[in-house]
Symmetry: C2
Subunit: 380 residues, 2 copies
DNA sequence: CCACTTAAGCAACGCTGTTGCCAAAGTGCA
DNA sequence: TGCACTTTGGCAACAGCGTTGCTTAAGTGG
């Protein structure tokens, strides 16, 4: 269980223990995907007794979250029964509010999108207007798939914000949003629990859960700006004020050219300037140098690139970034074995990651926050 | 409980739950110090029932880890009984192996040193020789204070190393140590459990536990080199290969002056060069720029400076670093409310932090690693 | 067809924190 | 001085967790 000590009591009682272990099993079920996973493999993965796993999976099946999925070939004895997650048991909405558009997805427990909707959006419009557009998108999506239990809405937004309180800060270019309690407003409007986070964090979460699997990594998003989502220890690192990931305005050139932020020699300014003058190699080298700094500082084992600017020439950026990291590793610095890849998939991963913000607690990934004694009391 | 997922089973059974809650209570007892803390405050701090706390503290008292410490003034009813940690119940040895010397401390559960020893050391000597010196220091320290149950030895070493395996990597200036399994060797020699970590991590751990208390922070050590210890979410961040904290060779000046590491424009090179030519203000500004990068990237709320070079002129460095961070915050960047302080105390904090590496698990701070069913079975 | 192997469930168990209740130990007012 | 009240903390019973010991189910292989 999490131990974000310093605040929040971390005492564990039996319901909490039960919930924790159930979430652990669900997480393994999800990771196993459609193939499924046997009870004994679950036991090995959790460190629990096979009998305990049997009890837990029995409860999950009763709740409709897990189901049998055939048998494994025998290895000389009774064949193992394979279990799998029932993706249709619960759904979550992911909302990506960008500067010029809105993307909404309805995903199942496995994280697969079952419905997508996009619409134009003007972040410069009055708050009421934007809020209404967002709420409408959520409502339409839920209406399109009735009878689907939706457990919440995850919202990904560009600017700096407070994830804990669900309050926006000064979104770059739209200072008027500073202090707007988007989470509370949208929660009231939709009647659903809402989680708010930065778009880069949502993207990083999607990457952490999907495909390439675990490990610590940094997602670097180069679009009109440059930001980062950090996944450390398998969880999104948000920092003390949940503002972590300000990567674009790291100083990379002391007393370098002026940046829009007022600083000098920011990675973002250097990178975009190089890109603007057509020197993509230099842009990639700048980005790579920042990435290499990250690799050494945090000892991550994966760098993932994304964003429109990267998408325009994925190869050049991957090669350029990889070159810098490998050069430093060859000199004896950190970075040996670090892989550099691109996220791909355009902007939809951000919306899907936003939905994962809501799903994450189901699988025991962070964000439990004061979950005490909230179980449907009846059983049998 | 920890969730360093991706590896290591995280299932929780009753013994694990018991251990977790006991550690939680012990941690609060330690934080309370000599003043002590009442059962109801413990209940509030853990989220457990007062009755559960009573049971847990009864066990701790039976084991000699906790004891009564008077009464609180009544608030209209029965006065609260105050409990406190019994620091003499267990001890740990902290060992700091530096390039030119060795510091060994014996600390009690509260982290207070009860014995200190220093000796010259030559890291360039044969491994057997260094190992013998280290083992001797441990033995002498334990002998000086017999009847003290010592639960382990924490070792802080300069270079890069693997904390998980307890193996040294290429210590700067002493490449011969690359691959040496110091933890295993010293454990066999002393017959005690040994934990190995970088000196900067040990210092950071000491800071995280002592005095100024929680929060995320970075400890920046500027001596003959420049390194960092990161404390994120109340725990030392070590990264995927436990090599995190390589701060000195972050590029801060693209294509800047050559560094000893072979790179260009490393913070360390810039900082030490400025210091060498007497421009302390510039050295502080360089360090501050790196610190500000860190603050924005990780959203930490504290920067702590240390090391001999900083100690030579603490004020200049604190002011210089603080100036850069505040300037960036004033521009609307991250860093508002970040405090900048110095560690102080010279090198002994590193040895004390090394001892804390061993004590940390007692208080539930990370590093439990496969603790299953190891309890003294008898009771009563 | 039988011996063997592997998987999974049933029942009893030990131990956890919780609940309900009561004794202990103070304060404050009559 | 005495009684009502408040607050603390322990005792006992309890529900629920994973574990253990054993039995049953369901295969393989000679």
């Amino acid at each position: 269980m999490n131990r974000s000590r310093t605040k929040a009591p971390a005492g564990v009682n039996l319901p909490a223990l039960r919930h924790h272990n159930a979430a652990l099993v669900l997480d393994l079920l999800r990771a196993a995907g459609a193939e499924g996973i046997s009870r004994l493999e679950l036991a090995e993965g959790t460190g629990l007794t096979p009998q305990a796993v049997s009890k837990i999976t029995a409860r999950l099946r009763e709740d409709g979250l897990a189901a049998g999925a055939g048998l494994r070939p025998s290895t000389g004895g009774k064949p193992r029964t394979v279990l799998r997650l029932v993706p249709d048991a619960q759904f979550a909405v992911g909302l990506h509010l960008d500067r010029d558009g809105l993307t909404a997805v309805l995903v199942d427990l496995a994280g697969r999108p079952v419905a997508v909707a996009t619409a134009p959006l003007d972040l410069g419009a009055p708050a009421e207007r934007v809020l209404a557009d967002a709420a409408d998108a959520v409502r339409d999506l839920c209406a399109a798939e009735p009878h689907k239990p939706v457990i919440g809405v995850g919202v990904a937004v560009p600017g700096p914000l407070d994830h804990r309180d669900g309050v926006l800060h000064r979104v770059t270019g739209f200072p008027r949003w500073d202090g707007y309690p988007l989470r509370a407003a949208l929660a009231e409007r939709t009647g659903l629990p809402v989680v708010l986070d930065k778009d880069t964090n949502a993207a990083a979460l999607a990457l952490a859960l999907g495909g390439a699997g675990g490990g610590d990594f940094a997602y670097l998003h180069l679009g009109t700006g440059l930001g980062a989502g950090l996944v450390l220890g398998g969880e999104v690192h948000r920092g003390a004020r949940t503002g972590a990931g300000e990567f674009g305005h790291q100083t990379l050139q002391l007393d370098g050219p002026l940046c829009g932020c007022g600083g000098r020699g920011c990675i973002e300014a250097l990178c975009l300037a190089a890109e603007a003058r057509g020197d993509r190699g230099e842009a990639a080298r700048v980005l790579g140098t920042g990435a290499a700094n990250l690799v050494g500082l945090l000892d991550i084992d994966r760098v993932v690139l994304g964003g429109r600017t990267v998408a325009a020439d994925e190869d050049a950026y991957v090669r350029g970034v990889r070159a810098v990291i490998e050069e430093r590793a060859a000199r004896g610095g950190a970075g040996a074995g670090v892989t550099v890849t691109v996220a791909g998939g355009g902007d939809r991963p951000v919306a899907e990651g936003a939905a994962q913000l809501v799903l994450a607690p189901v699988f025991g990934r962070v964000g439990e926050e004061k979950r005490v004694g909230e179980e449907k009391a009846d059983r049998g």
